[in-house]
Amino acid sequence: MQNYASEDRYIKELDPKKHEIALSTEDLHVFYGTSEAIHGVSLPFERFKITALIGASGSGKSTYLRSLNRMNDNIEGTRVDGKIMYRDIDINGKGVNVYEMRKHIGMVFQRPNPFSKSIYDNITFAPKRNGIKNKKVLDELVETTLKQAALWDQVKDQLDQSALALSGGQQQRLCIARAIAMKPDILLLDEPASALDPISTSTVEDTLLSLKDHYTIIIVTHNMQQAGRISDYTAFFHLGNVLEYDITSNVFQRPKIQATEDYVSGRFG
């Protein structure tokens, strides 16, 4: 891999008057012990748009994503410096209720991780813990979220069966349904289709596109075609820095940075 000057960057500015910003980071650094994995990343994420984070493996895109809802808190020796602004609050600051925050910034992981409970319980588990007891409300929640995740037709007759009996693609869509059952503002997805076959992948992509109307989506992907197909904005990560951030078509067709061009044209990665 070539070494590119990290000063050589292009970060598109979004005018707050024209674009509503749902989440943004300011000079975000992530440290694992003494080594620095993310070297100060500042990015805005527009509301009801899909932003793709691309880059080679080890570029820090997943690490960055996981710090957005502070999932890195749980890894011993990890430190995150800098600001994560959400609703005018720095959610990386002290005194922020992390659990409450995660209800609004949901996450779907690389490998499908349904609970070993029934399909129905997978979706209603967290809402129930949050005090929704009404059976009718829960039933409705299960139906709407499964419909949104394009899974309803396949599982509506087996809601009480174990989620582990579903196929990988179905499990991943169940995880999406489970995440949106919390009615989050923002959905973080960490390579949600990388463990899936092409057909399941395209179903998941369709699901994401249809979710865009209600959710701000940030997705990490190593699949450039996927980023091109579904995202509105793309950020290119390289060795812990964002070298280019722009609307997706620009990144893929008219990249302004040499490193980006080399990556999207498949010269490394």
Binding site: M71, N74, K103, F115, C175, A179
Partner: protein, 295 residues
């Protein structure tokens, strides 16, 4: 001699020794069951023991064993689950965790007689509980905690971290995630360990001779008020268990049919151990199948 020949000889020797191992178990089981089972009758299992005359049973000892077992499991299960959660979920890599792990290691390797003497000193004498079920249950708890805790910790660790992330990403606290998601998934392992621990406790005697005591006063099985002195449920009465009984009648030698009673009691003890062993396996598998939905 060439190496091929050696290979054959060595293999033969290994087959022989493995056979001896099986023979030892077979001999033990057959000896105990052959000598013991003829003495086991409904009368033997339900009537009280006698000294200086033959024909006594093991009814009270059997009841004591079970009562003590249940009481000590009631105390040790919650503590071991709490400590197991701490070690698998919260413990950071620091000196405190090292201290905890070393303590558990040491406790698990302590001779049970030392645990029994500690219980005698602290529970029976200092705390004033005397020779009682409660002293015994506490001593057994001390004896059982390290293994149960390790079992809980290992069972929790065997559950993938992605399940924890799933819970946390939904805005649940770590504690809720562990309690409601990880523990239910780890349940087969945890329960198997608990049953095996129960089996160990059931046969333990050295920790009990100076805590639960070596006498089995008659019980009034019609009065279940735990505060009544002869009530079976009274936790402050002395309670010789089955295992202690076997040791006691053999070392005192004042029971004319001691060896028959011992054989019968040993048979009962062995059968209980077998049940605990197979039960642990069966229950563990059963829950696992039920939970994962594979039929």
């Amino acid at each position: 001699m060439d190496s091929k020949k050696w290979d054959k000889i060595a293999t033969g020797v290994l087959y022989f020794i493995a056979g001896v191992m099986i023979l030892i178990l077979a001999f033990l089981l057959i000896f105990i069951l052959w000598n013991g089972l003829p003495h086991v009758s409904w009368h033997f299992l339900t009537s009280p023991a006698k000294s200086f005359q033959s024909g006594g049973g093991i009814g009270i000892q059997l009841f004591n064993s079970f009562y003590l077992l249940i009481l000590s499991m009631l105390i040790s299960i919650p503590i071991s689950i709490g400590a197991g959660i701490y070690l698998s979920e919260y413990a950071k890599k620091n000196w405190l965790t090292n201290l905890v792990r070393t303590s558990i290691d040491i406790l698990s390797s302590l001779p049970s007689i030392v645990v029994g003497l500690f219980g005698f000193l602290v529970f029976s004498i200092s705390a004033g509980l005397g020779f009682s079920i409660l002293s015994g249950a506490l001593a057994l708890t001390v004896f059982n905690l390290p293994l149960l805790t390790r079992n809980v910790e290992e069972s929790l660790r065997s559950i993938s971290g992605s399940q924890r992330e799933a819970g946390l990403a939904l805005g649940l606290s770590k504690w809720e995630t562990v309690l409601k998601i990880i523990i239910p998934e780890a349940l087969p392992g945890i329960i198997t360990g608990m049953i095996l621990g129960a089996g160990r406790v059931f046969g333990e005697a050295a920790a009990l001779i100076y805590t639960a005591g070596q006498s089995a006063p008659p019980l009034d099985f019609t009065n279940w008020n735990p505060f009544y002195i002869a009530s079976p449920l009274n936790p402050l009465r002395p309670a010789e268990t089955l295992a202690v009984h076997i040791w006691k009648i053999n070392s005192e030698g004042i029971m004319p049919d001691a060896s028959q009673v011992s054989a019968g009691a040993s048979a009962v003890l062995i059968i209980a151990v077998l049940i605990f062993n197979f039960g642990a396996r069966y229950v563990g598998n059963h829950i696992y199948r039920k939970m994962t939905g594979t039929k």
